[in-house]
Symmetry: C2
Subunit: 338 residues, 2 copies
C-alpha cells in the first residue's frame, strides 16, 4: 500500500504538506499543489481510512440502521438506502449498513467504537427502545420517520397525516361520501409504526371535517386477505365508492377484485394510493396517488446529517409536503341514486 510519505517523497515535500493539500486546511502554493496532485495520481494513492480516522477522530462514515422488521416496504427501504449511499458519497462519506437486529446494542457499539460519525435510522417505532440512547448520543442522529416524542431528535418524514387528509379531500371533492382505507397489515399498527397511524389520523380528521364516512381496514398483503376485507367492506357499507390504499401489495389484488366484481375503476369506484410513484405507474390502472418519496427522504436525511456534522443547525422536523397526482383511478362519484 502506498502511503502519504511516499507521495511526499516523490513530490519533494513533507508528509504534512501532502495532508494539507488533501484537506485544504492550510494554503498551499499552486506549484506545490500540482506537484503533489500529480504524485498522488501517479502512485494511485488513497489515504488509509483507519489511520485517518485515528488521527482526526472522524471516520467519514455514516451508519444506516434498517428497520427491525423487514416485513414490508422492502423496495422503499431499498430506495432509501441507495439514496442515502449515493448522497453520502457526494459528501465524501461511506455508509455502514446495520440491521435493526442488534437493537440498542448496535447503537452503543457504533458510538463506542467511533466506527461512524453519524447515524441514520429508518422506520423507528413510536416508542422505540433506542430512543433514549439516541437522544444523548455523542454524534448526530437523524431519523427517517417520526417517533411519538421527537424532542431532541432530528426527523425527516413525509407528512403522512397530510397525505391521508389529501386522499380523503381528493375523494370527497369528487363527490364520494363513503370511503374505505385499506391499510398495512394489522401487525404494523400493533407495533405502532408512526406513518401508518398518522395517515389514518389525518384521513379520519379530514373525513370528519368533510362529513365523509370512512372505514379503516388493516389488511395483509395477500390476495385472500384483500378479498376478505373487500367483502366485509361492501357488506357493511354497500355504498362505498372510494378507496384509499396504503399497502403496496394490496393494490393489485384490490384492482383485480374490483374488476371481478364488475366495479369499474374509475367509473364506479375510485382508488387512490399512498405508494411509490413506481408502483402507481406500474399498476394495471394508472393510480392516482400520493407519492412516497423514498429517494428524497434518503437524500434529506443525509443532508441533515451533513448540516450537523459541519456545525450547522437545522430544522428538528423536516416534513415533506405530500403531493397527490391524479391519474386514471379516480373520478367523480356516480350521481347518487343513479
Amino acid at each position: 500500500m502506498v502511503t502519504i510519505a511516499e507521495v511526499a517523497r516523490r513530490a519533494g515535500v513533507s508528509p504534512s504538506t501532502v495532508s494539507y493539500v488533501l484537506s485544504g486546511k492550510r494554503s498551499i502554493s499552486s506549484a506545490t499543489r500540482s506537484r503533489v496532485e500529480r504524485s498522488i495520481k501517479e502512485l494511485g494513492y488513497h489515504p488509509n481510512a483507519g489511520a485517518r480516522a485515528l488521527a482526526s477522530s472522524r471516520s467519514n462514515v455514516v451508519a444506516l440502521m434498517m428497520p427491525l422488521r423487514t416485513d414490508m416496504y422492502l423496495p422503499v427501504m431499498m430506495e432509501i438506502a441507495v439514496a442515502v449511499a449515493t448522497t453520502a458519497r457526494e459528501h465524501g462519506y461511506d455508509v455502514l449498513l446495520l440491521t435493526g437486529e442488534e437493537g440498542a446494542q448496535a447503537v452503543r457499539r457504533i458510538h463506542g467504537s467511533s466506527r461512524a460519525d453519524a447515524m441514520i435510522l429508518m422506520d423507528v417505532e413510536l416508542d422505540d427502545e433506542r430512543l433514549p440512547l439516541l437522544r444523548d448520543a455523542p454524534q448526530p442522529v437523524v431519523l427517517i420517520g417520526r417517533p411519538a416524542d421527537p424532542s431532541g431528535l432530528i426527523c425527516v418524514d413525509l407528512d403522512f397525516a397530510a397525505a391521508g387528509a389529501a386522499c380523503v379531500a381528493h375523494l370527497a371533492g369528487l363527490g364520494h361520501r363513503e370511503i374505505a382505507l385499506i391499510g398495512e397489515a394489522p401487525a404494523v399498527y400493533e407495533r405502532h409504526t408512526g406513518f401508518a397511524e398518522r395517515t389514518l389520523a389525518g384521513a379520519r380528521g379530514e373525513a370528519a371535517q368533510l362529513g365523509v364516512r370512512m372505514l379503516h381496514r388493516p389488511t395483509e398483503g395477500t390476495y385472500e386477505a384483500v378479498a376478505a376485507q373487500l367483502a366485509r367492506i361492501f357488506d357493511e357499507r354497500p355504498g362505498t365508492t372510494g378507496f384509499i390504499v396504503q399497502n403496496e401489495s394490496a393494490i393489485e389484488p384490490l384492482l383485480s377484485l374490483l374488476r371481478q366484481r364488475g366495479r369499474a375503476v374509475p367509473e364506479d369506484v375510485s382508488v387512490v394510493a399512498v405508494c411509490p410513484e413506481q408502483a402507481a405507474l406500474h399498476a394495471s390502472v394508472r393510480l392516482s396517488s400520493v407519492a412516497l418519496p423514498a429517494q428524497e427522504l434518503g437524500r434529506r436525511a443525509v443532508e441533515r446529517v451533513m448540516d450537523r456534522l459541519s456545525g450547522r443547525t437545522c430544522e428538528q422536523l423536516d416534513l415533506l409536503e405530500p403531493a397527490l397526482t391524479q391519474r386514471g383511478s379516480t373520478g367523480p362519484a356516480a350521481a347518487p341514486g343513479s
Copy 2:
C-alpha cells in the same frame, strides 16, 4: 471515549494484556481475564475501530456493492443485503454499502484505503468493467451472480440454467407442449445480465430435449406491456398452455390478464415462476415456483468471504440447486383436442 489504557489501569494490568484478552492470541490466566472483562463491562469499553484497523491492518468490514442498475428485483437485493449484514455481524464484521454508481473507481478506493477487508458484489454483468480489477484484488472478492468468465473469482449463485430447465421439465411432465417464457425487461437482456440469459439457455435446452416448443418474450413489468406480450403469444401460438415467468412485476398482471381472457389457472393454462418464495405465496394464485433464495445467497457469500479471510480455500463456484415447489398454478395440460 474510554480507551484500552483506562481499562488496563482499572484492571491493574498493562494495555497489551487487555488486548490479548480481547483477541485471545496469547494465553491469559483466568483470574486476569475476569478482572479485565469486568473492567471492560464496567467502563463500557469498545475498541476504537480506526486504531484497531491501523494497528492490525484489518478493518473488520466487508464492502457490499449494489448493482449498477436498480431497475429490478429491489426486494431481492434488499433481502440479500440484509442477509449479508446479519451474517457478517455473526462473524464480527460490519458491512459497508456501496452503490454501483462509482463503478471501478469505488473498487479502487476501497482497496486503496483499506476501508474493508473483503468485497461482495451483487449482480455483476457478464463482462463487467470491474472484473479485471477484481481478479487481482489484494483482498477476497465474492460475487453474487456469475460473469461470463468466472476464472479467478469466487461466485455464489442460484443455478439459473437448472432453474429454467426445471420449469420446462415440470410443465412438460404435466403434458404441456407449447410454452412461453415471460422474461425480464429487454434492457436486462441487452446488458447481458447473467441470470436472465442462463435461465433462458437452461429452459431452451430442456425444451429442445423434451420436444417442447418454447417462446421467449422479454417484458417490461407494466400491465400494458404484459398485456401486449400475452396477446402476441396467443396470436403466434394459440396452443400455448404453459407459462414460465421470470419477472416479479409481470406475475400479477399475467394472472389478471389470463383471468380476463377466461383462461383458468391451472385448469386451462399453467404458470410457473422463478421468484422469491414470498412473491409466489402472495400472488392471487399460489404459484408453483422455483424459489430465488435471496437470504441463502447473501449468507453464503459472507461465508465464502470468511473462508478466504481465514485462509481456508473454498469452491470457486457455489451453485445453489434450484428447488421447484408445486403449488396451485400448475396442473395437467388439457387432453389435446378436448
